[in-house]
């Protein structure tokens, strides 16, 4: 009887401890931003700080872009994140094309965009290059 009691106690303890053990065996979870020390926050924001300090002429633009990120819905932010990944794989020539096409298309009606898409797909690389030169990307703002 006594042994059975011990067994039951051990089993109960194991069952109760399961969630705790599970939590203890997971990797460290970093605390929320509010719980970080000033030194940790400084460390984490270092890339942005460096960017900000080394480009005085771009600060207004960076701030504007940060505001735009903030204004986006979570779904838009997620899609923009995918777009940013695509951007990371593009060479400078493709980026110039993207800037020009985006700048042109953003003010177009759906019909005009469709027409430009079809026109673009029918173009040769030389024609596309000529189109980019004729429609340079708008200055970044």
């Amino acid at each position: 009887m006594k042994r059975n009691g011990i067994r039951r106690s051990l089993l109960l303890a194991l069952l109760c401890a399961a969630p705790v053990l599970a939590q203890q065996t997971t990797p460290d979870i970093q605390p929320a931003w509010e719980q970080l020390s000033t030194a940790e926050r400084d460390l984490l924001t270092a890339p942005i700080r460096e960017r900000w300090n080394s480009n005085p002429g771009e600060r207004a633009r960076m701030l504007e872009h940060a505001r735009r990120w903030q204004a986006m819905t979570p779904e838009q932010r997620m899609r923009a994140h995918h777009g940013m990944k695509r951007w990371s794989h593009m060479d400078p020539e493709k980026r110039a094309e993207a800037r020009a096409l985006f700048g042109k298309m953003r003010d177009m009606s759906p019909e005009q965009r469709k027409a430009l898409r079809e026109q673009w797909q029918a173009m040769t690389p030389e024609q596309r290059k000529a189109w980019i030169e004729a429609n340079p990307p708008q200055p970044r703002h």
């Binding site: 599970a22 979870i29 924001t45 942005i48 986006m72 899609r79 951007w87 096409l101």
Partner: protein, 128 residues
């Protein structure tokens, strides 16, 4: 025991034998099992001996399930730049190498350009 009693006893035994003969094999097997279980109390001990390892195995199963449940919720250790970039800008679950890039480029271009690059327009134009 007089003759009437003897006849009565013989008649009952005969009825019993007929009843047994007409019983299905399944019922007979069940009765045998129950009789054996009732007459061998040691079996209870052996069943109980299996019960505890079984319970312990179940407990271990609960522990494993608990571990599995915890794993999907666990974010990858975040790099410095990923957290910096995620402070209102990008996804914090991205890989460190990409985070490094994102931390520097998230504010370079208008986020609307990145949004457009994920659109069907950009897909059609094969922007890669």
């Amino acid at each position: 025991m007089n003759i009437n009693d003897r006849d009565f006893d013989a008649t009952l035994r005969s009825h019993h034998a007929q009843a047994l003969a007409s019983m299905s094999a399944r019922t007979q097997a069940q009765l045998q099992l129950r009789r054996r279980a009732a007459t061998t109390p040691a079996r209870h001990t052996s069943i109980r001996a299996f019960a505890w390892p079984l319970a312990a195995a179940c407990a271990a199963g609960v522990l494993v399930i608990g571990l599995q449940w915890r794993k999907p919720d666990t974010p990858e250790p975040a790099s410095a730049s990923s957290i910096a970039a995620s402070s209102g800008t990008v996804d914090a679950t991205a890989k460190p190498a990409e985070d490094e890039f994102e931390a520097y480029t998230a504010l370079d271009e208008t986020p609307d350009l990145y949004l457009w690059l994920a659109s069907s327009d950009a897909n059609t134009l094969a922007m890669e």
